[in-house]
Symmetry: C2
Subunit: 343 residues, 2 copies
């Protein structure tokens, strides 16, 4: 199978994917954001009037971001999910994506593997009305580079530089599952099979928090997605906003993946390990965001509207740096350091 046949067979879909929730009944070319999809030198997008285009790109490399024996459907899902998570962190609505793919010869020949990869990507893309509009395919060590395009009303994007002293610090969902699964797969520790399956699902098929991100427009003062660990990603917000933060150990411990608690069935971790996993483990793809205390009801309403649990875990302060405050009031500094691919 040649390059063009491979693209036609696995990645080109006709008719072009329609966006059911926003497609108008009348024929209005402005309202359909994908003007031209796969098969030309460029794809053409038309964001709605008054919208800005949000763009993010992430590259996944075998041995670095996934194991060689990865489930290809999970890989297709994750390659898009980590990018959609960046749109979520900006409060943007997904429109489209491109996929550049380097394939070793044995993968390029493996029709079932390619069909599963495309299937995983398209299932998530369809769930978020995100059309695959273009890409590139070449021979080479396995590498997936997805670029996503979303739209957000001008001036309403959630950014990293908007946190203000006195703001609350919030986190969506629970943290640590992805790191617990990775550690188990690497042999750092063991997890009961049922627990591993649940944690692995979060590692391999993260759910980008798009509904929450859009619901937080005009409410949150800053946001970032948790790809490199809470300490590091909150650290990006603190640096961009030129502020610091204190987290309460009690609240922060609460958001550690519930089933992994020492009180949970078969989870042999002490509280300190769990806290470390939650603070520095990556790949959770939850959102960390800030909002003023007067917006607490609005934050809870946004969380409810998007069916996404949120927890208030700390407060933005003028003093630079990131601190953890224990139940006894003791303050310990936290290194606000993200995962570093060359560290």
């Amino acid at each position: 199978m040649g390059e063009f046949e491979l693209i036609d067979r696995h990645f080109k879909r006709k008719p072009a994917f329609a966006r059911p929730q926003t497609a108008p009944k009348a024929t209005n070319s402005i309202a359909q954001p994908v003007v031209l999809g796969i098969g030309d030198d460029c794809a053409l997008l038309q964001p709605a009037p008054g919208m800005q285009l949000a763009i993010s790109t992430d590259m996944l490399v075998q041995g670095r971001h996934f194991f060689a024996d990865v489930d290809p459907a999970a890989l297709g899902h994750k390659a898009l999910a980590v990018n959609l998570s960046d749109l979520a962190a900006c409060g943007a609505e997904p429109l489209a994506c491109t996929l550049a793919l380097a394939l070793p010869p044995e993968r390029a020949r493996d029709d079932a593997w390619l069909a599963a990869l495309a299937g995983g990507l398209f299932a998530l893309a369809d769930a978020h009305a995100c059309s695959l509009v273009g890409g590139d395919t070449t021979a080479g060590p396995l590498n997936l580079c997805v670029t996503v395009f979303g739209q957000v009303p001008a001036g309403q994007a959630l950014r990293r530089d908007g946190a203000r002293v006195g703001d609350d610090v919030w986190v969506s969902g629970t943290l640590g599952d992805a790191r617990l699964a990775l550690g188990a797969l690497r042999g750092e520790w063991t997890l009961p099979p049922e627990r591993l399956a649940a944690a692995r699902q979060r590692l391999e098929r993260p759910s980008p928090r798009l509904a929450l991100g859009m619901a937080l427009r005009g409410i949150a003062t800053s946001a970032a997605d948790l790809s490199d660990g809470l300490a590091g990603d909150l650290g990006h917000i603190l640096k961009a906003s030129a502020v610091g933060a204190s987290l309460t150990a009690e609240e922060t411990t609460k958001i550690v993946a519930a089933g992994a608690h020492p009180s949970g069935a078969g989870a042999p971790f002490d509280a300190e390990t769990l806290l470390r996993v939650a603070l520095t483990g990556g790949d959770d793809y939850e959102l960390v965001f800030t909002a003023p205390p007067k917006a607490r009801a609005a934050v809870r309403a946004a969380a409810q509207a998007s069916a996404t649990p949120v927890t208030r875990i700390g407060r933005i302060e003028a003093e630079p740096g990131l601190r953890l405050v224990g139940a006894d009031g003791r303050v310990s500094p936290l290194a606000a350091r993200a995962f570093d691919h060359f560290g």
Copy 2:
């Protein structure tokens, strides 16, 4: 040097690159297309009102698209150039780009190499007012994935599917130099040193035909850039437009890199070899386009306005397929086949 320091040092520029030729004197945030650049979860773009966004992505892999000992400045140039060439083929004006980069550890440590790579990319980006607005950096086998964003007035993009029976077929510049250089570097043939240097320049530092592409809006009926060879890329137009074409051997031979002609100094190729190189050699990044005969004066005016030579080499016909017509009137079929990465 860590990942974030690497990005800060080589790829983040402050103040954000301003677009000298379009930046208005008055403060008008709409007129500045890059709202937010490197350093957040997403970049934010605001195309001008009435504009569509043209998007293309290309991935370059070591050993496939460039040699391990490639000049890093040339690599940075080419990674962007091949993408800008896709914008040219659509008649789009460049706005911004992203760069996802997988680096082996020895490259991530090599400050001079990285500075040269970034320098090559930024020099071309600056020449076309194309801001680097985001990206990703990871460890892995050397791989560069650039995605470019341009704007084009709604409905005016040059596409592959607009060629009509009776249209002329045009090509910009000359063809074959990149393939001649590649063959010499691979040891398939030898070229005199001066000739090799000139051909290698075209292989390693192609000039995307952006000015011509924009000048052809409203004139050309279809266009594609020549990345995979004239026969293949014109083949894409023929397939998308459901037509065929005949090229005249005499005119087509004229556009073969002038200095490589048998009459040229030290070029030992026969006419047939040169024609084959021009038709099937890739990496030229010229444009092939079609326009009705009544637009010939307009095409020549667009070529002159953009200081880009163009040659009329054939005609679109109803009969499918691609043919070459000799001076004696003999018609030989040409395989309209593009370079295939898995062929």
